[in-house]
Structures are given as C-alpha cells and as structure tokens.
C-alpha cells in the first residue's frame, strides 16, 4: 500500500509556520544538492567569483525561513571579511594586514558555503533527511548516521556554547590563559562538553533505537520526499546567480 502524504505535525520541520515558508520548502534532496553545488563552486580555483552570489543565496534562504539572526550574521560576517580581505590592505599596507587579508579571502568562501549548509541543517528534520537519503539509495550506514548527526548537532552545539559561557564567566576563556596553559584550557573546555553531550546522547540514542532507527526493514515516510515548484524556483535562482557571477566577473 503506498504511503499517504500527510502534513507533518507542528514541529522542527514546520516551525514558524507561514504560507510563504510552506510553499518555499525545498525537498531535502534539492537542499543537499544545493549545498554540494555551492560548496564546489565557491571552493573551486576561481571560487571567489561565485562567493558574493553564494552569500546572497545564504542570506535569501535565511530570510525565507525567517531566520533573521542568521541572515544578519551572514551579511555582517561577509561584510567584515570583504573589508578585511580587500579594503584593509588598500588603507593600511603591512605584513600583518596582508596575512589577515589572505585569511579573510579564504574564510569568506567558508562563510558562504556554511551559510547555505545552515539552511539544510535548520530546516531538515532527521526523518526527512533519512527519507531523502533512502530515496537516493544511500547506503543504510551513511543514511542513518547522517540523519542522527542532524539531530545531535543542536544538542552538542548547545552544550559547547554553555561550556564556553561558563568558561567566560569564570575568566578562563582569555587568550592569555590559552597561550600559557593550552592543555589545561582545552581540558576545561573539552571534558565537560564531551561528558554533557554523551549524557544527552544516551537518552536520545535509547529513544531512537526504540523508534526503530537502524532497523533492517525499510521504513515508510509520513512525508515522502517529492520535488515541487519551490525546487524548480531554487534551481532557476541558482542558475541566474551563476550567470550573473560570470557576467560580473571583471568586478569581482
């Protein structure tokens, strides 16, 4: 019996609601493809040509899902790296500024690709990712692992942020302390972060196994992955941005 398409319950994949966001929801396979294409484009030898377009795409995707903070952070980071990478060497020539400029020119590509990848992580539920990977016949080991990783990222990132906050409050996250006692500083960060993450993972693992994760039988999906108009629109936007980048090549 074919699985019926059922609207997902209000949850992570549907958070925020809104007609625009529901219609703009991309198929997880399209999102994965988008991330791979953008990463390959910006990290190619002439990737800087595509970097402004990739940054704009990342900001646009964040705006569509109403992730205002991410949109602002991406635009801000891109702007700072543009100033550090291209304008600062013109204003203040010097070896340190030049090294910083090189680092900014390299890092801006990562900011652009991570911006698009953040959309995939933020808007794809582990079950959606699992169904999408099954649909493309990914090996079970990789499909299950990637789906679980998607679920664990916010948990572990939250624990790491809490540990860094606690270190800051205790005055332990200073550059001087790190320089004088790097091993001790690392121990103070890594040990509580790993221990807290593992404690959280025990409950989540038990829950996942009880729900049949990793089962040999092929599960059915409540929302089978299907390509729609939003995916076509995303493909057209991507093509338009690529053409625009190539046309504006002399400027970049």
């Amino acid at each position: 019996m074919p699985a019926q398409r059922v609207d997902p319950p209000a949850g992570r994949a549907d958070r925020g609601g809104g007609a625009l966001r529901r219609h703009a929801r991309l198929d997880p396979r399209a999102k994965i493809l988008l991330v791979v294409i953008v990463s390959l484009a910006v990290m190619s030898p002439d990737g800087l040509i595509f970097t402004p377009a990739a940054l704009a795409l990342g900001v646009g995707l964040a705006l569509v899902e109403s992730a205002w903070r991410r949109a602002a952070a991406l635009a801000g980071l891109g702007g700072v790296m543009w100033i550090g990478g291209w304008l600062a060497p013109l204003w203040l020539p010097g070896p340190l500024v030049l090294v910083t400029a090189l680092a900014c020119q390299f890092s801006i590509r990562f900011v652009a690709s991570v911006g698009v990848a953040a959309h995939l992580v933020a808007t794809t539920s582990p079950t959606g990712m699992s169904a999408a990977l099954r649909a493309v016949h990914a090996p079970r080991a990789i499909a299950v692992t990637l789906a679980v990783m998607l679920r664990f990222f916010p948990v572990v990132a939250g624990e790491a942020a809490a540990v860094v906050d606690a270190m800051r409050l205790g005055g332990l996250a200073r550059a001087g302390g790190l320089g004088r006692h790097p091993i001790r500083a690392l121990e103070r960060f890594a040990v509580p972060m790993v221990a807290a993450s593992l404690r959280a993972s025990e409950d989540l693992s038990a829950s996942a196994i009880l729900r049949g994760l990793g089962s040999r039988r092929r599960p059915t999906a409540m929302t089978p992955p299907r390509f729609g108009p939003a995916d076509l629109a995303a493909g057209l936007v991507l093509a338009a941005l690529a053409v625009l980048s190539l046309e504006l090549r002399p400027l970049t």
């Binding site: 990789i142 299950v144 790491a160 790097p182 890594a190 790993v194 221990a195 993972s201």
Partner: protein, 213 residues
Amino acid sequence: MSDSTEAATTASSAKPRPPGPRLSARDLLNVAVFAVIFLVANWAIAMLGIISPVVWLMVTPLQIVVGAIPFMLFLTRVRRLGAVSLFGVVIALFYLLAGNSPLSSAVIAALGVVADLICQAGKYRSKWASIWAYTAFGMGFFTPFIPLFIDREAYFATSTWESMGADYVEAADKLLTTPLLSGLAVAIAIFGFAGGLIGSATLRKHFARAGLA
C-alpha cells in the same frame, strides 16, 4: 514455561556472542554522536582564533589535540571493523559540505580506513593502536596543503593568489617549499601523536572514573 526457563538459562550460560560483521544501530549512533562532538569541538576551537592573531596561529595544533579526546573515547566503544571508516566518511562528507575540496575529503575518508585497520590490528583494545590510529587520522589536518604537492602551478594560479599580486605570490611560492611542507606534515603527525597521548590520559583521568569510557 519450562521451555522458556530452559531457553533463558541456555542464553545466560552461553558465551557472549562475538560481534557480527554488520554495524548495529548502536554502532551507527556512536559514530554519529562522536562525529558531531568531533566537528563541534573543532569548530569551537576554530572560533577561538577570533580572539587574537596569536591564538589564530595556535588553532590548528589545538584542533588536532582537542579532536583526540572524542576520537579516543569513540574508540573505547568500537568493536567492529567499519565503524572508524564510517566515522572518517561522515567527517569527510561534512567537510565537503562546508567547502573542503573533494580531494581533501577523499583523503580524510581514506585516513579513516587506515585508522580502522590500525585499530583492528590492536583488536580494538590496544591503547597504542588507538594512539597510532589517531596519529593517522589527524593527518587529515594536512589535507588542505595536498594540492601544493600535486599541482603547484594551478594552486598559485587561483584568483585568491592572483589578487595578492605577483610579488606576494612569488614570495609565498619561495616560502612554501617542499621541505617546509614536509616539515609541516611531520609537525602535524607529532601533534596527532601527542593528541593521542593526551586523549588517552584524559580518558583515564576523567571519563574512566565517570564510567563513560
């Protein structure tokens, strides 16, 4: 009733079954959990580079060392061939999505397989095999420099280098010589080995006591 009791007795008196060839759901969960911890720890250390340029220079050695802690803890839970290889594959996939080159990602995945074979040689219970496995896997931090060995001219012909000017590229070309890069590879291997030792000591000092290792 008696049948079930007999079956239960037989099951409890039987020797523990050796792990099968396929990775179980628990193995996959372990790979996923530790891969995420490894990636987040690396990312958090990379963010420390924002504090000052001095810290920025220390970031890569710190990343190698801090990555050893989740990796060594992960190895204490591995029983089957394939789990460490899968760890390498998913780490490589995430680096690929984050903008790493396909070549670097392929090398990271291959290093995962090498680490897995080293662990298997130690039957997944040898401390030294685990340390050498991390030394091999830690070489993944050298992968961004591999294009310099393969196609040096193409590496310096990119738009990033071109934008720095011909003099700068020439100076960088003279600086990034094969002996220097070889020295860098050796330094990364040493940091990987030191990371393995520190990770092993951290397991003994903290996680074994807490029952997590």
